[in-house]
């Protein structure tokens, strides 16, 4: 535990070293984040990538049968990221699809799975970017999954039903991704009068409002997949300690021993 905090602290210091002096979507397009900021977000996301790799290794080692489910989580993000859906604001955006994997495998694994999706889109679709991969991964594959996972645990602990927990987790995770993107852009491009906050509100107006119906759609789709998994893949879910037949503490699955 202590070691983790120390390493985390070191990374924060390193990240701050790269942090530029204040000067004044969907995903951030290629080249649209100044070099210092782009580098900063890469540094920030790096430990999450290591963590994610380790998490995936652990999961696969402890139960090789979960490999297919992992593939499902990745494929789900793959599909949803490709869907350009129109929104009531008159523009289009994409859902993220990372909520499902975050609930199933925990948020750390999604940094890798989400990162792969983003890499694919940056290389083949000129959507997002390589320079902005760090920033986009942080918003979509780190913040989003952590929020989803945290919310899922919270609602379950408050004895909320599974569909409600999944829906809220996926929907709000999606929204947080885009709010984070707005923040990233606002930090890099503070408005002349108003600074970071004014910029952030502007970007949020573009991204976040458009995203609301999409986030709801993503929440619903995630619930649908969950319904199917609960019906046909009870064993895997039990192994991941998501479902349990009695309300007692369930051991096994991953390093959490509590009901998920």
């Amino acid at each position: 535990m202590f070691r983790r905090i120390t390493i985390l602290g070191m990374y924060i210091v390193l990240a701050m070293a790269v942090l530029p002096q204040p000067a004044y979507a969907m995903h951030i397009a290629e080249g649209f984040l100044p070099f210092n900021w782009a580098a900063f977000w890469f540094v920030v996301v790096l430990p999450f990538w290591f963590w994610g790799l380790r998490s995936i290794q652990q999961t696969v080692k402890s139960n090789p049968g979960l490999k297919m489910l992992l593939g499902l989580a990745g494929a789900y993000a793959f599909v949803l990221s490709a869907l350009k859906i129109p929104s009531v604001t008159g523009s289009c955006s994409h859902p993220t699809g990372v909520g499902l994997g975050a609930i199933l495998f925990g948020p750390s694994a999604m940094s890798i799975l989400g990162g792969i999706v983003l890499l694919f889109q940056a290389l083949l679709l000129a959507h997002g970017g390589l320079s902005t991969l760090g920033a986009n991964t942080f918003s979509m594959a780190v913040v989003g999954p952590f929020v989803s996972y945290g919310l899922y645990r919270l609602v379950r602990r408050l004895n909320g039903s599974m569909p409600v927990a999944v829906f809220l987790a996926a929907t709000l995770g999606d929204l947080m991704t885009y709010i984070t993107t707005s923040l990233q852009l606002a930090l890099a491009f503070p408005a002349q009068p108003g600074g970071v906050l004014a910029s952030m509100l502007k970007f949020m107006g573009i991204f976040a409002v458009t995203q609301i119906p999409l986030a709801i759609s993503e929440g619903i789709l995630t619930v649908i997949v969950f319904n199917l998994l609960a019906t046909y893949n009870k064993n895997e879910l039990l192994e991941l300690s998501i479902l349990d037949d009695n309300k007692a503490l369930v051991v096994g699955g991953r390093n959490q021993q509590h009901i998920r």
């Binding site: 494929a75 793959f78 129109p86 008159g90 289009c92 390589l130 491009f189 019906t231 046909y232």
Partner: protein, 95 residues
């Protein structure tokens, strides 16, 4: 309600959410939010030049549509294969 019925009902809601914008905004352009973000950045800092270009850009909107469709198809293929496989496995176990 069975699982299938619940899921179909939910899918209907998603479909309505996606279709509603076309009725609410008859003449809207439905540009991507990414482009709007680029415009806003230019507004805030007119002298900003992107310092990196995409390694490769799809040569046309058609090719881009193809790639998005391919991405969705591959992902859906994997998802649906897994779900079908799981359903088959369960039915076999129940026999």
């Amino acid at each position: 309600m069975s699982t299938a019925q619940k899921n179909i009902f939910l899918l209907l809601i998603v479909f309505l959410l996606a279709a509603a914008p076309f009725f609410l905004h008859r003449s809207a352009e439905f540009a991507g939010a990414d482009d709007q973000a680029e415009d806003t950045i230019t507004q805030i800092r007119p002298d900003y030049e992107p310092w990196f270009k995409p390694v490769w850009e799809p040569p046309s909107g058609e090719v881009e549509s193809f790639l998005f469709a391919a991405q969705a198809a591959i992902g859906s293929g994997i998802v649906c294969y897994f779900l079908g496989y799981s359903k088959g496995k369960k039915q076999r176990e129940q026999k």
